[in-house]
Symmetry: C2
Subunit: 333 residues, 2 copies
C-alpha cells in the first residue's frame, strides 16, 4: 500500500476541492492509503469515500502572505501542512501532497522532511505543458536564487532518476538552459555546468538549449539556477496569458469572428486545455527524504487528483531510495 | 537633415529587402539622407529612389556564424557593417541601421562607435510587442552576461531618456524584472538595484515586476541583466511559437475547426500580426556614441523601413546628446 499525507487546508479552493480530489483518487487508485490533515468537520462534509482514508484534525493552515515562513513553520507544529510533512518525516507516509503556498512548502520540506544526506540543495521542479510528444521537467524554478554548478548537477541526476522511475525513460535527455547553443556560452555557472554535465556518465547530456526551444526540444529535463528558472516559467505563463487575451479580443472584434467561434468552440477549448496546469499535476520538491508534490494553488478536484497520482508514481518508482543509494555510492568513490 | 548609415549586406534577405526598405523609407520620410554600404551592383538592381541616397561600395558582409567577431571586426575594415558604423564614428552619419548578426553588431558598436564617456556598459534593448496600450522596452537582453547594479541603473537612465525623446513620455515607468514583487526578492543584484532605482530621482521606479506581467504591466521599461533578459526574450518567442503551432493544430483537427477558420481568418491574421516583430522595428544598442538600430535578421522591406524610422526618431529626440550631458553632470556631482 502506498501511503500519502494530504494537506487538506492548502490551496485557493481548499478544503472542498482538495477533499473532492481525495474522493476521485481513492476511487481510481486501489493501492493508495491517504491520511488527511485538516478541519475534521469540513472534511466530513465533502468526503464520500470510507476506505483507505484516515483523518487527523488539523484546522490551521499556513498563510499565503506569510512574511517569515521559517519561524512560522518552526513555531506552529499544528499547521496542516506541517503535520502532513511530519507524517512523511516519521515514515508514516511515503509522500505528501499540498496545494499550499510554494515558498512555505519548500521551507517546510527543508525543515521537516529534511534533505537526503549528500544532497546539497533542494529544487522545485514543475512539469511543463505537453507539447510535441512529451511533458518536460524544468528545474530549479525558485528554491535557490544563488547556486553552484555541482548543485545543479545533482538536480539533473535527481530528475533523471525520477523520469526513469516514473516514466520508464531509460536515459532521459538533459539540456542546460542557456543564451546560445554553442559550448562556452553563458555565465561562469553555465560554462562550469556544461563541463560537469558532459563528464557525468549518469547523465544523458544534449548540451545547451535556448529557451525558444523550451516547449519543443527533444530534452526531457531542462536545468538552470532557481532565479533563471523562475523567470522563464513566469515568462511562459505571462506570454500564454497575454496571447490568450489577444486571441479572445481579436475574435470578439466583429461578427465574422463570433460566427467562426461558434464552429470552432471545441477546438479552441482543446487548445486552452493544452495549456492547463490541471493536467500536469504539480511541481515536485526534489532532494528531501520523501516525495513532496506541490499542487497548483488554484487546484480543482481533478488537478489535485492528478497531483496525488504523481506522488503515487514517484513512490512506486522508488525515486528517493534510488537517489539515496546513488549519492552514497558517489560519496564512496 | 537626419543622416543614417545603412548596412545593406546584413540580414537573411539582404540586399534585396534592405534596399527595398530604403526605397520605402526615402519616400516616407523627407528629412532623412541615407548612405548605403553594400554591393553597388546589387544595390542598383533594387534601388528606385534617387534623392537623398549615397552609395559606398562595400560588398563584404559579416558572417552570421563568426566565432571570433572581435578579431574579425578589427581586421576587416571593409565589411559593410564596419563601414556603416565607422561613418557614425566619423560623425558623417547620426546613426546606423543593420540587420546583420546581433553579437557582431554589439561588438562592432563597441569597438567602432565606442561607448559614451561615463557609460559603463552597452545594452541591447528590443521593443516588446504591443499589448494593453503600449510597447515596452526590455534591457539588457544579451550584451552583458555578468553585470553590476550600477550598470543596470545606467541602462534604466538611458532607456528613460530614449522614451522621453522619442515618445514624449515625460516620466517613463521603470520596473525591475524579478521573481517576486516584494522588496528584498531576488539575488544580491536585484536587492542592490532595488535600492539604487528607488533612490534615483531621474527614474520613475515602480518596483519589482514578475515576468508574468511582462506584456501587460504599466511599466514602459523593464530592466535586468543580459543573461536573464536574453532567457526571458527567448522564452517569449518560444512560447508564442509553440502556442501558435498548437492553435493551428487544434483548428485543423476537424471540419468544424476548418469552417470556423474561414469565418475568422482575418481575425486570426490580426492576432498573428500583433506578435509580428516587423511592426516594432529593431533592437537598440544603448550606450555608444551614436544611434545604432539592430533590425531583426529576417527583416522584410517593411520591417527594415520601420527600423530606419526608429533610428530617425532617436536622432530627432537627441537621445545620445541628452544622455551624454546627464552623464557629465552626474560626474560633476
Amino acid at each position: 500500500m502506498i501511503k500519502l499525507a494530504i494537506d487538506v487546508m492548502g490551496g485557493d479552493y481548499a478544503p472542498e476541492e482538495i477533499v473532492k480530489g481525495v474522493n476521485l483518487a481513492i476511487n481510481k487508485y486501489k493501492d493508495i492509503e491517504l491520511t488527511l490533515f485538516g478541519d475534521e468537520k469540513e472534511i466530513n462534509k465533502y468526503l464520500t469515500v470510507k476506505e483507505r482514508v484516515n483523518i487527523v484534525n488539523a484546522p490551521k493552515k499556513l498563510d499565503m502572505g506569510e512574511k517569515d515562513p521559517i519561524s512560522t513553520i518552526r513555531k506552529n507544529k499544528d499547521l496542516s501542512m506541517v503535520q502532513a510533512f511530519t507524517h512523511v518525516h516519521d515514515k508514516l507516509s511515503d509522500g505528501a501532497v499540498t496545494a499550499g503556498p510554494t515558498q512555505g512548502a519548500i521551507v517546510a520540506a527543508h525543515l521537516i522532511v529534511r534533505r537526503i544526506p549528500g544532497m546539497k540543495r533542494v529544487a522545485l521542479c514543475p512539469i511543463l505543458p505537453y507539447f510535441e510528444g512529451k511533458n518536460r521537467l524544468l528545474l530549479d524554478v525558485g528554491a535557490n536564487t544563488d547556486i553552484k554548478a555541482e548543485h545543479v548537477l545533482q538536480h539533473a541526476q535527481f530528475a533523471s532518476v525520477y523520469l526513469r522511475g516514473t516514466k520508464n525513460i531509460e536515459r532521459p535527455i538533459v539540456g542546460l538552459l542557456n543564451i546560445g547553443t554553442e559550448p562556452g556560452k553563458g555565465r561562469e555557472l553555465e560554462q562550469e555546468l556544461f563541463n560537469l554535465l558532459s563528464n557525468d556518465s549518469s547523465i544523458n547530456f544534449a548540451g545547451n538549449i535556448e529557451p525558444k526551444e523550451l516547449l519543443t526540444t527533444e530534452c526531457d529535463i531542462l536545468v538552470t539556477d532557481g532565479f533563471s528558472g523562475n523567470l522563464v516559467m513566469k515568462t511562459m505563463e505571462g506570454t500564454a496569458k497575454a496571447l490568450g487575451g489577444a486571441l479572445k479580443e481579436e475574435i470578439g472584434r466583429n461578427i465574422l469572428g463570433k460566427i467562426g467561434y461558434i464552429f470552432m468552440k471545441n477546438n479552441l477549448k482543446k487548445f486552452k486545455k493544452r495549456l492547463n496546469a490541471d493536467e500536469v499535476g504539480g511541481a515536485l520538491i526534489f532532494g528531501v527524504d520523501g516525495i513532496i508534490v506541490k499542487a497548483h494553488g488554484s487546484s480543482s478536484a481533478y488537478a489535485f487528483m492528478r497531483a496525488i497520482r504523481q506522488a503515487r508514481l514517484a513512490v512506486l518508482g522508488n525515486v528517493v531510495s534510488i537517489m539515496k543509494e546513488s549519492l552514497v555510492s558517489k560519496n564512496e568513490d
